[in-house]
């Protein structure tokens, strides 16, 4: 599905801080990451560790203090690569923004060129949204919005797809569909990077697990809490917390 000549994007030396002078806070510290087509990386890290910030830098949405991007064809500064990143790296919000109008209209915004109608219909079918095609997109559930965003990504066919906490606020059924859709992206050669603070999500999809700690990436083997049934709280003494 992806016909881009690039199959990998290497980022090196990403540094990002917020604030000025005394209030300056280093969020990402000289970090390297490589995104390869067909692979799915899980990015874990505590709240506030900088996962969203990193994802937004990778997709060209916010400017890092420094970074170098290598596509295998050329080596670029973030500024030079910004256009490429905007085109090839797609960032999906935790709750994707839906424009006023039907689901179909929201998909239409992601299509250009011929056969728009057929392509939209195929995207609806792919994301199991056919019954929602004419629904007001702003009124969808969180899981359905996420699927609309995935269908948009499917239409855009970016090289890299970045997902920010895609399955928080999702029930098991929605999560299952989402995982299926992510698997389908992987198969077609898209590189996936999923930010989540729960390593138990996405074990069906994930190839490797990186953890963001103090602005640096630590390679962690995937460890699963397989002896815990899905819906039981790991903290039996603190039932009802959330």
């Amino acid at each position: 599905m992806n016909n881009s000549p690039i199959s990998q994007i290497q980022f090196s030396g990403i540094t990002k801080s917020f604030g000025k002078r005394k209030g300056k806070k280093l969020i990402i510290n000289d970090l390297d990451i490589t995104l390869t087509g067909g692979e799915c990386t899980l990015l874990t890290g505590k709240n506030g560790s900088g996962k969203s910030t990193l994802l937004r830098i990778l997709s060209g949405l916010i400017k890092p203090d420094s970074a170098t991007i290598n596509t295998g064809l050329q080596s670029l500064s973030w500024k030079q690569a910004r256009k490429l990143l905007r085109k090839q790296v797609m960032y999906l919000y935790q709750e994707p923004y839906m424009f006023d109008g039907s689901v179909r209209r929201n998909l239409l915004y992601a299509v250009s060129g011929a056969n728009a109608k057929q392509r939209i219909n195929r995207a609806l079918q792919w994301a199991d949204l056919e019954h929602r095609a004419e629904t007001e997109a702003k009124c969808l559930s969180g899981g359905e919005k996420q699927r609309v965003a995935l269908a948009q990504a499917w239409l855009k066919q970016p090289l890299v797809l970045l997902l920010d906490e895609p399955t928080s606020n999702m029930d098991d059924y929605s999560r299952h569909i989402t995982e299926d859709l992510l698997l389908s992206f992987k198969k077609s050669g898209t590189a996936l990077l999923v930010a989540s603070h729960d390593p138990n999500h996405f074990y069906r999809v994930t190839d490797n697990n990186l953890s963001l700690i103090h602005g640096e990436l630590i390679n962690k083997p995937i460890e699963l809490n397989t002896d815990l049934p899905n819906n039981v709280s790991p903290f039996p003494n603190k039932l009802g917390q959330h």
Binding site: S59, L61, R86, K87, M90, Y91, Y93, P96, Y97, F99, D100, Y109, A110, S112, K138, Q152, K156
Partner: protein, 234 residues
Amino acid sequence: MESLDATIWKAITLLFSGDKELWNIIGISFQISTSAILLALLPAVLLGFVLAYAHFPGRRFLISVFNTLLAVPAVVVGLTLYILLSRQGPLGEWKLLFTQTAMILGQITLSFPILVAMSHSAFQSAEIRAWDTARTLAGSPIRSFFIIMREVRFGLLSALLAAYGRIIAEVGASMMLGGNILHYTRNIPTAIALETSKGDFAQGIALGIILVSMAFLLTITLQTIQGRGALAHE
């Protein structure tokens, strides 16, 4: 002076008898205000858009400039343009004073800040997420711009109607810049002012009825739009 009933009756007769002079004045009013709005609209909306989404030094300052301009009285706008356009003024060679063009310039100046300020807040009402999403989905910035324009269309229409409401009923600048010349620069508000000063209330009331109906229509439309807008964002 005639009795009030008689005057009102005369006014209504004037309106519905298709009095040529009266309808000529009404026509001039709408023609001038519509030209002014059409000329101001695109640059003002673009500026509102840039002020909402682009970050550049001086952005905040520009926003406060336009908010201040909102409060500048029409007579001051009229006076400023009068000085610029008068024979001894820097733009005197253009010989625009007491022409429709001068009135259009005046009304553009009056409507521009409203259009900028209101379209700025319309664009701001859409989250930055909306703009980022539009940029991600649509290939070109122009297409993204149209997606966002559609997203905030109710706010933009409100801006248009509010600006139109201000200039169609404005006396000060029109009087000073147009000179109230019959069949040329006499519009509804300047005609009302003149006829009233002459003690001829019937024409004034007839024109007043047009303005009030206009205002009523604009308000109703605005309310409907804002209601629809609110619903669409629930």
